[in-house]
């Protein structure tokens, strides 16, 4: 049984998949909406109507793919869950898709991309929050902490190295961040 809108969802999936393929092959400069429409087997006008610009299309395609690429860890302990989240992110940002995403995110400063940006980060924060909620139930962190803030404390130093200081995302660094965050959120004795 198909839900109404099933065709629209299939068109979207085909267009986004074709877009990610083109971007990974040739970068944003290689992306043409006519080419994408042909690859996805849809009319060019449908792509324009839905996404407007190739940049908007690129951002949504990459954000959508990324949501499925960094899994939510569930190792049974907060330390190893946080380490897996951070290591997973460090590995992802060095893949072609991760690098592309960062380049696009940094260029996207127009109002029409804010929706895509927000959906992406909501999804990432939800992954962090799932880890923290389970840890709370195990008594591994103080109750009542702001989960978004804890996630930003975990991920902020990594993105600062990646984008600004360009220092390595090595094991010593990643472990150090996890230990500092753990000490910051541990229950009071």
């Amino acid at each position: 049984m198909r839900r109404p809108g099933g065709r629209s969802a299939r068109v979207r999936a085909a267009v986004l998949a074709a877009t990610v393929d083109v971007l990974l092959e040739g970068g944003l400069d290689a992306l043409s909406i006519g080419d994408i429409a042909r690859r996805a087997g849809v009319h060019e006008s449908s792509v324009y109507r839905r996404w407007g610009t190739r940049f908007n299309l690129a951002l949504e395609a990459v954000l959508d793919r990324t949501r499925t690429e960094v899994p939510v860890p569930d190792t049974g302990a907060l330390r190893t869950d946080l380490a897996a989240l951070l290591q997973g992110t460090a590995a992802f940002v060095r893949t072609p898709l991760g690098e592309l995403l960062l380049r696009l995110a940094l260029r996207a400063d127009m109002a029409e991309y804010e929706g895509a940006r927000e959906r992406f980060w909501d999804h990432r924060f939800a992954a962090g929050s799932a880890v923290l909620t389970r840890a709370e139930e195990r008594g591994e962190l103080r109750p009542g902490l702001d989960h978004r803030l804890v996630f930003e404390a975990l991920m902020g130093p990594l993105h600062m190295r990646l984008l600004l200081t360009r220092e390595p995302l090595d094991e010593t660094f990643l472990d150090g961040v996890v230990e500092l965050v753990l000490a910051g959120i541990a229950p009071h004795d």
Copy 2:
């Protein structure tokens, strides 16, 4: 008494000052090396010889000016010093010079800028380390912590909001980061 190289230092200061002026007036697109040389009263060829490209010149000029703009707090207590460092940075990144610096830093991915980038961050880390060293002497944090890592924990979430999630750098957020970092570096009871 002038040190040898005094003239060279004066030329450098004049060129960098003229460059920051032009950048703040019209952005990178307004910058021409011929114009800078005229404003600074030096030969165009000296500017080319020393900086090579206008982009390189822009980066060094902005980094150099920035080093003097965010002061090192010394309030007598770690909490208020960290809050002042973070608030000073949050205020700076919203000034025209701060926005310019970020745009340039994000574009600068060529090997020849790494020296300027490193000197800039070394200077920022030194400001953080001065604060932490004084706090250590007052017994306000665990001895033996990696000061660079603590500085990255303080500044990382701010830069992640600024560059990626675009969420506000409001007081609740800045206070929350300071409290989390403080909890993470406090002495064990």
